[in-house]
Amino acid sequence: MLPDLKEIGDKITQNNIWKSIFRHGYEDTPRNRMLQILGNVWLHIHPTTVTKGSINISFTWCLGGLTFFVFLFETLTGVLLMFYYTPDVNRAYADMLDLSNNAIPLGRLLRNTHRWAGHAMVITVCFHMLRVFLTGSYKAPRQFNWVLGVILLVLTLLLSFTGYLLPWDQLGYWAITVGTNMAGATPFAGYQGPFAELFGFTIDNDIRFGLLGGTSIQAPALLRAYVWHCIGLPAMAGGLMILHFWRIRKDGFSGRL
């Protein structure tokens, strides 16, 4: 005899424990549709209803949402990678090889996805900006959210950039050499920039030194890149994303949405 699925279902859902976790039923009623959004801490970033036009994929291309999703994806894969990566000049590269050669289960896939998703995030964030510009969605009263978006774009690039040094391979080493030497050319505050002598900036006290923790790229630079990449910049980006999303709701959707 087949078991009565409905009876089993009722047994599971019709009790105090289940109801203490899930506040409302799943029955498809307008009220429940609203509650799905309102009663869910993750989903109530959305309004309960939206205009029909706004879910046209060809309006937003889902780019902002995708960027956020990639950020979460990077956080997850990044935390997993942290279990097997040591920010030490003698070990970093060997750890990379271990990951790439699957000395760690799923290591290669983990590293590949983290790297490629990082590239993808730069693409989605750039095209999200293009989309927001082309639809004029930055116009009053949403000006400030555009500014937040620009800062988030910069943070995305910085996140990618700091991650670049971590494998301690030729690619990262020279990219960071060039990048930090640009900081060393900052007018007034970099030792090779114009007017550096005005405030007495030399190779061992300028911006570049503060970024590298030394006069050349050595162990402190790798550790700094690691801490900025894993904690400093994601924390800033996360904080600003909260603001960014909050402002979308508070400033209202643009135009025909």
Partner: protein
């Protein structure tokens, strides 16, 4: 409720204009977002399965790769670094781009085109922004596909070799000529459009107009400087004892 005025005020009837048709976020929007995320996951997992992330040799401070390329999204910047001193191409120009982007909502006086795709209602804004966006990507493509050993120019179909001619020595414009040229460029570049498009100038006002034109002229100026370098081997347009442009 101690406020006596409250009772005398009639509650305003809630606006019930028809407006655009609304639908529930759950399930319509959430489902689409979920599908988007899922599609992204599939693509990234498949791509990562077949294409390995680059990992070069162990870092060697004595010998860079040849050519040493930055990650692709910075190659536009790296291309600019060929034409300008690091303090400009590496610091001032990126800062101007970032600040310029932040300024956009505050200098765009056009209230039309808010929330929908349109070209006709905001020709200038869309053209300028798209041009800048495109320029960034053209520079990236140049950097990714057209730069070979020692950062020499190779077309994508050419084979990289070390036997390319050494470029001719560069020369710079004398300081007075440079000052005049830059003043003329920014002066005329600001003044002439204001005469030609009087409405545009008046709607913006002098400050916003000045900022807009400065950013626009800087963007075009970088392209012109690239042309001067490639075409006439000019190293600096403006030479001063402290900095060169």
């Amino acid at each position: 409720m101690a406020n006596p005025e409250a009772t005398t005020l009639k509650p305003e009837p809630r606006q019930t204009q028809p407006g655009p048709e609304k639908i529930h976020t759950w399930p319509h929007l959430v489902a689409k977002e979920f599908l988007c995320a899922l599609l992204f996951l599939v693509v990234i997992l498949l791509y990562s399965y077949y294409v390995d992330a680059p990992l070069r040799e162990l870092a060697n401070p004595g010998e860079p790769e040849n050519p040493a390329k930055a990650p692709w999204y910075f190659l536009g910047l790296q291309e600019e670094l060929v034409y300008f001193d690091p303090w400009f191409a590496g610091v001032v120009l990126p800062s101007l781009i970032i600040i310029g982007l932040m300024f956009i909502p505050y200098i765009d006086f056009n209230h039309k085109g808010n929330g929908y795709y349109t070209f006709g209602e905001r020709k200038f804004a869309v053209t300028t922004f798209s041009f800048g966006f495109l320029l960034w990507y053209v520079l990236i493509i140049m950097g990714v596909y057209c730069r070979g050993p020692f950062w020499a120019w190779f077309w994508p179909w050419e084979k990289w070799t070390l036997a390319f001619p050494t470029p001719p020595p560069l020369w710079s414009l004398p300081a007075p000529v440079g000052v005049l040229l830059l003043l003329a460029y920014f002066g005329l570049g600001t003044w002439l459009p204001a005469r030609r498009w009087k409405d545009f100038y008046q709607q913006l006002g002098p400050v916003k107009y000045g900022v807009t034109m400065f950013l626009l002229l800087t963007m075009i100026g970088t392209i012109l400087k690239m042309g001067l370098r490639l075409g006439f081997s000019i190293k600096y347009v403006l030479q001063t004892p402290w900095f060169n442009i």
